[in-house]
Symmetry: C2
């Protein structure tokens, strides 16, 4: 295992690349994304301190997506072999890793719903609420106020919207008094209304844990 520091907006992993390491984020914010031939980008997930991103590399030779930092990041790079051995030797660890992947998958499903079926305003609201919860988990938010970890352009790539329309959707949320923001600070003013607008149900982030096991990894 080796610690490695990345600057803001650096690509940690590139689509199609052969991977030898899994990456655990020690500090900062990163995202996983895929791109189209014309360069359009779809962000699949955001990741923060404590997230094991790229866990799939343990079993898959090539990465089907890229990973990029949205801030300076400290990353612990763990050899795939080591992760595999862990899973091989300790069934409890195999289960924890599997569970982590299952949670990932649940988040992807929710995002597909978000991008596929929700209105622009709802999509943006949903993303904000997910970020609020994720940051709360790691003690960087009280669940209402937080520092936006990404730009509106990146938010747009996560929402499947243009940057301009993402901006306008954000304004709608502000005008309706659901959020307030200045600079990078974002504050959810009316949580019930936000959840209603977003159709947000936190369960997908915190699935009732492994049978007979604590849910937390």
């Amino acid at each position: 295992m080796k610690l490695q520091d990345y600057e803001m907006y650096r690509q940690i992993v590139s689509e199609g690349e052969l991977t030898n390491h899994c990456a655990l984020i020690v500090s900062g914010c990163a995202s996983r994304f895929k791109t189209l031939a014309n360069g359009e980008r779809q962000i699949n997930s955001f990741h923060f301190r404590g997230d094991m991103v790229d866990l799939q590399s343990a079993l898959m030779l090539k990465s089907d997506h890229s990973i990029r930092t949205h801030s300076p990041c400290r990353v612990a790079r763990i050899e795939c072999r080591a992760v595999l051995q862990l899973a091989q030797q300790f069934p409890e660890w195999a289960r924890v890793l599997w569970f982590d992947t299952l949670v990932d998958a649940a988040i992807f499903r929710e995002w597909t719903l978000n991008v596929g079926r929700r209105s622009a305003v709802s999509r943006v609201a949903h993303l904000l609420l997910e970020i609020a919860h994720r940051l709360q988990d790691i003690g960087e938010s009280d669940g209402y106020e937080f520092q936006m970890p990404v730009t509106q352009t990146d938010l747009a790539d996560a929402a499947g919207l243009s940057a301009v329309h993402t901006n306008r959707s954000l304004q709608t949320l502000r005008q309706r008094g659901l959020v307030r923001s200045f600079g990078r600070t974002m504050i959810v003013l009316d949580m019930p209304a936000m959840c209603a607008e977003a159709g947000f149900d936190r369960n997908y982030l915190y699935p009732a844990g492994p049978r007979g096991l604590p849910a937390a990894v």
Copy 2:
């Protein structure tokens, strides 16, 4: 383990439900989906013979999504406990199950890209190509010709489009000579053009396997 038969358009699992069993599809076609409060539906994946759908139930108490049949289906229902024990006792099995979940996740990522960033015509083309490959895998297609397992309305719910626009996108593909179809029969006439239109790269379906292991489950 118990075999169970379902009619067409029956819900096998419902969102929020407590689950005791994992489901393996023995025959037929099913889909996983999530719904919005207003009833709009987003299909997350299609499943065919041999697919372990609902594998997540092994570790998660509640289901975050629903599963529905698109044809009469025979399903093998396996107790979650049994699946867990398998993983617990045999590291190879733990690895296989984990790998299956990782492939699932890769497909979800591709779908999010599809729905979030591709044009209507490309989305539909991409879905058709995925279905063609999946059916080829189980010997129900030569990769070009197959029986559409779902209606256009369901295709629309997978593409994140309205049924009407899905129909028109399909017509565009026909007019441009990329596919031909009559009744439920669908034929890809110009595979290179289809792949180009869809931005289709089969790798996400067949990730290079577990290190030192055959990829197939």
